[in-house]
Amino acid sequence: MKFVDEFRDASLGRAVAAEILSLVEPGRHYKVMEVCGGHTHSIYKYGVDDLLPANVELVHGPGCPVCVIPMGRVDDGIAIARQPGVIFTCFGDMMRVPGSEGSLLEAKAAGADVRMVYSPLDALRIAKQNPDREVVFFAIGFETTAPSTALTLKRAKAEGVANFSCICSHVTIVPPLRALLESPDLRLDGFIGPGHVATVVGARPFEFIPADYGKPLVVAGFEPLDILQSIVMILRQLAEGRREVENQYARVVPYDGNLRALEVLGEVFELRPHFEWRGLGFISHSGLRLSEAYAELDAELRFEVPGVRVADPKACQCGEVLKGVIKPWECKVFGTACTPERPIGTCMVSSEGACAAYYNFGRFAREREVV
């Protein structure tokens, strides 16, 4: 298939791997963070890390939207789902994320009307089909997903769908990256930037990383050769003493992003002063809420929610995993008490989560053998 097969070509992959080998300095250890959960998934699905020299380490960042949702937000969603007459809609993996008293899936088993949807538009469709019920959409995701929620809210408002509302847990990518870079226990040499977030926001918002922190960032696509090429570009910058934002995924990502999408986001959402991230704590201006013009569709105003901060389970080390301080298999409960079937931490819930990616694609057994 054009534009797919050539990005999965094994012989080309070996050639790029040889180029990577030629760019690394012996004795130097390189840590490169892939920001996006989609990259983490591809890296383990295709064994990209097996093609890297031992001194090039990939660290998994906070780019899985499920993984960063704190327990308190799940509790808020469950509280709304339990209200009489409510149809609560969310993406599939969100249903299994544990709150302090269970998950949305467990709330569904206990009688709440919780339904999985593939898009906010599906949720709006359910609202139109059930005018006598309140339909709430649990919005999660970074700037790639936020336009979909924004357009749905615009459509709901324009069409006067009064029984539709949204509990907004959308987040933005730049503030957590800045928080990570400020973290004293993290040393990184460069970043593989999120390709489809950049389709919306562009590559320009990442310029603070080389400018303020002296690290290269390369926006990358999701095929194995995209990721390998982005590593080459990062290593080449390091070797040449350059620190820049580069766009490996130029076939899709405009440097300035999708201006129409940014305009819609600006109309429908506004930044929260603070938003809690699992494992990372509260980060200023990192979460979105509905703007005043769309307040009538804000489920947090329409329904009573606990809004309580709930501490992560003590055994769970998702925070350290999300910051790249430890590898998933180094967590005390990885693969034992915490598995994709019975997740304790959110990194094990979504297939884009670092722990689930390790577990699902055989890294669990391999790493344990090394130990």
């Binding site: 992959g13 989609g38 699905k45 599906d122 999120p194 489809h196 994709p340 694609f361």
Partner: protein
């Protein structure tokens, strides 16, 4: 490069629906009406897709879709 098989309980698609960075390439089958166009993915499944974020979504054109919204026009043939 061959992908590793995913276990039965794992997401079996290219990406989980909740992935913030999912992008599904599709081809536009029908002209947009009210901002919605009929599109098909690589497996031939049809979807109603919001296309208002694009300058144009002509029939036969390729678009990158996330959660039923086209976020970018794709050049050339269908691909990620």
């Amino acid at each position: 490069m061959t992908p590793s098989p995913a276990p039965s309980y794992a997401c079996t698609g290219e990406h989980c629906i909740t992935c913030s960075d999912e992008g599904v390439p599709m081809i536009v089958l029908g002209a947009a009406r009210g901002g919605l166009a009929l599109c098909a993915d690589q497996e031939g499944r049809t979807h109603t897709v919001e296309t208002t974020l694009l300058e144009a979504a002509p029939v036969g054109g390729r678009v990158l879709v996330h959660a039923d919204v086209a976020i970018a026009a794709l050049p050339g043939e269908l691909g990620r």
